[in-house]
């Protein structure tokens, strides 16, 4: 990772919106974009015409700037579509923040959205194949299951112990989701249910996997020094970092599947940008990319919340629970929201934003100062990772 200058405290969020996530048979992608943006604009107490530039993050649900200009009828302003796999929404936000920090614009919009449930297929569409199709058949659960197999083997966990560890992650997130009216799945699950669920990709069972859903989320950002003109409680941008892996794990036999280096690198850079030296103590909450339960567990180590190889103790002690030392997925995570690819990053920011403003209702944690969001796009061997930190 190169040097980190960053834009800490130069940009603030003054409005956010998030649709209900789920099987939104009722809503087109344009409806979702409209719903999320309408809430954000109203929250910011601005008019749509005040927006000076916009970025739309989506994986497969739209192309070019018209993806936002059309549904929102934005009037001849610059709009750009951003695609960076599961970090698409976070990267759209990053672009909007950089435009504000550069002084190019004062009021910018970032929207993340994805409409996956129109396809009729299970899982995600296959975007990975080479044009020659000379490629192993692989899916997201299959590839992330590789992490679980190795993690269990490297740290000497029996399949039963390993599945219990990651299962506990899912039990926690499902519980948080029950407290969130915008979540897709809102029910408690027991560790027995999780461990005995049908296998999707051994060793990952059904409840180790996040769902496939539709959704959108949006943010309005302005220069930090103007933020209080719009609201008394803006939330400030502390760090915006992205790290992209050059697909090393596909080729390098020394990649061992128990960590994701892009997360480590993006995390380190984000901590530097935000001036954080002890993430476990300083970060109030985190929304991590729990596409699979094993991913959340490994990410907690990659981001230095837990020492390497020791996340099991923190998971089992409840350290990441809503009332724990560092709540992870207070909103229920991808586990409860499902994962409309482009929407997830901004959905995570939405929760941190609400928590920092004390608006998270039943999920409210005590005195949050800094919240971290993390997206892991791709697969363990080849990925693009964002780590964003916002706070007071």
């Amino acid at each position: 990772m190169g040097s980190v200058k960053g834009i800490r405290d130069k940009v603030a969020i003054i409005g956010m919106g998030c649709t209900k996530f789920g099987e939104r048979w009722d809503a087109s992608k344009n409806d979702l974009i409209f719903e999320a943006t309408k809430e954000a604009v109203e929250d910011a107490k601005i008019e749509p015409k005040d927006i000076e530039a916009a970025w739309g993050g989506t994986w497969v649900s739209g192309f070019d700037g018209r993806c936002l200009a059309d549904p929102l009828k934005l009037q001849y302003i610059p709009v750009t579509r951003v695609e960076n796999a599961c970090a698409s929404g976070s990267d759209a936000f990053r672009n909007a923040c950089y435009a504000v920090a550069a002084g190019a614009y004062d009021i910018c919009l970032a929207v993340g959205f994805e409409k996956l449930k129109d396809s009729g297929y299970s899982g995600l569409p296959d975007q990975q194949s080479l044009p020659s199709n000379r490629y192993p058949d692989r899916t997201a659960p299959g590839m992330f299951a590789l992490m679980a197999t190795t993690y269990f083997s490297v740290y000497g966990l029996s399949p039963e112990e390993g599945k219990r560890m990651i299962g506990t992650v899912s039990v926690k997130s499902h519980h948080n989701g029950t407290l969130n009216p915008k979540a897709h799945l809102r029910r408690e699950v027991t560790i027995e249910q999780v461990m005995n669920a049908p296998i999707v990709a051994w060793p990952l069972g059904l409840f180790d996997c996040c769902g496939v859903s539709d959704g959108a989320a949006a943010a309005i950002v302005v220069p930090a020094d103007r933020a209080k003109e719009f609201r008394p409680d803006p939330v400030y941008v502390k760090a915006l970092q992205i790290s992209v892996c050059p697909s090393e794990g596909e080729l390098r036999a020394d990649y061992d599947f128990t960590q994701v280096r892009a997360t480590v690198e993006a995390g380190k850079a984000a901590y530097t940008e935000a001036g954080i030296t002890k993430p476990r103590e300083e970060i109030s909450m985190a929304e991590l990319h729990d596409c699979f339960s094993i991913t959340e567990a490994v990410t907690c180590e990659d981001l230095e919340f837990s020492p390497r190889g020791k996340v099991k103790a923190d998971i089992e002690s409840g350290f990441f629970n809503l009332d724990g030392g560092l709540p992870v997925q207070p909103d229920g995570g991808l586990k409860s929201f499902g994962h409309p690819i482009g929407a997830s990053g901004l959905r995570m920011l939405y929760e941190v934003y609400l928590q920092c403003q004390g608006r998270a209702a039943e999920r409210q944690i005590k005195n949050p100062k800094l919240g971290l969001t993390h997206n892991l796009g791709g697969i363990p061997v080849s990925n693009t990772v964002s780590v964003l930190i916002i706070g007071l």
Binding site: R134, D137, P141, G142, A145, T150, P198
Partner: protein, 474 residues
């Protein structure tokens, strides 16, 4: 004198019990034993590649200057199959490739043509690779008796292990079995005519003429590998020919593999070579619209051919298909519910062409700066970032182990779960493969695996091949 310098064979791992077929159809056919069944991702091309790799064990593929692919079941009616086999075997781009197709004598025809080419000096080293996956119609005796398999022979003037003494050939236009360009299954005339006017007349006459041509008597033959649709017919013909069937006839693999069509005489020859000693006289007979009779003499060179899986080791290594329906599904004989996954992408022909070197042969590169093998070929080294500083590197015979794996029930597959494995090569490099011919319960991290050339997709008429990994077969 031209002769055989090496041999190899392939029998698919899976076997279907004939009583299981009988039970599925509640049939009266009393055929015992089992048949070898190509897996859903195998065909005559992939099996010919496997036999070819067995034959080239310890031999530099670059020595081969001609590749003859023989089969009645090429996956293409129009388009050469030999070029795919040659690509997968990593043969020189200047290899002449040829298909011998359509005839049950394709295998023995190709052997004769190979001997002729080497004798004439127009080729120095010809690999004959023959694979077969014929189908009999469901609920018929051919469905029971046909099996899948492959054989390969390397023909040259140097390192000869088996001299070709000579051959005798005769044709007989005869509709005993046929398959038109519109047929999926083999058609045939009624059994008595096929036997009396066909096999029992043509084979003994040709064998006798062949022996006479070289002043030999049946007693001079140590082992005769004679194509036989079933062992009873071979026994009946044996009596007419003056052979002692028990002592002199090579087992026609009927009980264990089934009738592998044009590959059968070559597979039987490979089986007899596995037991042959210097000085033995062998016979190999192909049959179909006539007869090809070869007389061969084993030399001391036979001792040098080692570590072949051949017939014996492939026969011993097997796994029973759990039921007849699985076979029906693998062969696409019944329309079944498609998996709830998006259809595979359109296959780009320019991309196939561009990928030819690495996509077919599993040849990657090794960085000349840091020495790391990489697949597929890169322009920038994954370790040291050196640019365009690579040499070719063949992964196919390198030792490899599973780093990690999963069994994926979401991925679309004819035979779920889809096992995916990150495979690390002992001398460096990693490739992520699908794993087949495995029992999911037996897959472990650290397990040794090998690579196998397989069909990965069939889409818009294109058979698309790549590599998978399997447990060490045998």
């Amino acid at each position: 004198m031209a002769g055989i310098a090496s041999y190899g064979a392939y029998i698919p791992l899976y076997r279907l019990s004939r009583p299981d077929i009988k039970n599925a159809w509640d049939s009266m056919l009393p055929i015992p034993g089992e048949k070898a069944v190509a897996s859903y991702d195998e065909d005559s091309i992939t099996m010919a590649v496997a036999a070819g790799r067995d034959c080239l064990t310890g031999i530099d593929p670059q020595k081969v200057d001609r590749l003859y692919f023989a089969s009645t079941t090429s996956p293409y009616k129009e388009k050469q199959a030999a070029s795919i086999v040659a690509g997968a075997l990593g043969l020189s781009r200047e290899t002449m490739t040829m298909d011998f197709a359509g005839s049950l004598r394709s295998g023995t025809n190709a052997l004769r043509a190979a001997l002729d080419a080497v004798e004439a000096g127009s080729a120095s080293c010809v690999l004959v690779a023959c694979g077969e996956t014929r189908m009999g119609a469901p609920n018929g005796d051919k469905e029971m008796s046909f099996g899948d398999g492959a054989a390969a022979l390397l023909v040259s003037k140097s390192d000869v292990a088996v001299e070709a003494v000579g051959s005798y050939h005769a044709f007989q236009e005869f509709h005993d079995m046929w398959r038109s360009d519109k047929d999926t299954f083999v058609r045939f005339w009624e059994e008595r005519f096929v036997r009396e006017a066909g096999y029992l007349r043509i084979v003994p006459a040709s064998v006798a003429a062949g022996l006479q041509k070289y002043n030999m008597a049946p007693g001079d033959i140590t082992k005769a590998a004679i194509y036989a649709p079933d062992p009873r017919l071979l026994g009946m013909a044996g009596g007419k020919m003056g052979f002692d069937p028990m002592a002199q006839f090579q087992d026609p693999l009927y009980m264990t593999v089934g009738n592998t069509g044009s590959a059968l005489p070559l597979m039987m020859l490979v089986a007899s070579l596995e037991d042959a000693k210097a000085g033995d006289n062998l016979m190999c007979v192909g049959y179909g619209d006539g007869c090809d009779v070869f007389i061969l003499k084993v030399t001391e060179g036979i001792e040098k051919i080692k570590d072949r899986r051949g017939i014996k080791r492939h026969l011993e290594s097997k796994k029973m298909i759990p039921n007849y329906l699985k076979y029906v599904q693998w062969r696409g004989l019944m329309e079944t519910e498609p998996p709830p996954r998006p259809p595979i992408n359109h296959i780009s022909v320019p991309a196939l062409w561009r990928d030819m070197d690495w996509g077919l042969s599993l040849h990657g590169v090794r960085c000349k700066s840091c020495g790391t093998p990489q697949y597929p070929p890169q322009r920038v080294c994954v370790i040291c970032q050196a640019q365009d500083n690579f040499e070719p590197y063949d992964f196919t015979r390198k030792k490899a182990k599973i780093n990690t794996f999963s069994h994926d029930n979401l991925a679309a597959s004819i035979d779920p779960p889809t096992t995916i494995a990150a495979v690390d090569f002992e001398e460096g490099g990693r490739i992520i493969f699908n794993m087949v011919d495995r029992d999911p319960d037996d897959v472990k991290t650290g397990m040794e695996v090998e690579v196998s050339f397989r069909k990965v997709h069939f889409f818009e008429g294109i058979h698309n091949y790549w590599w998978k990994c399997t447990p060490i077969r045998c």
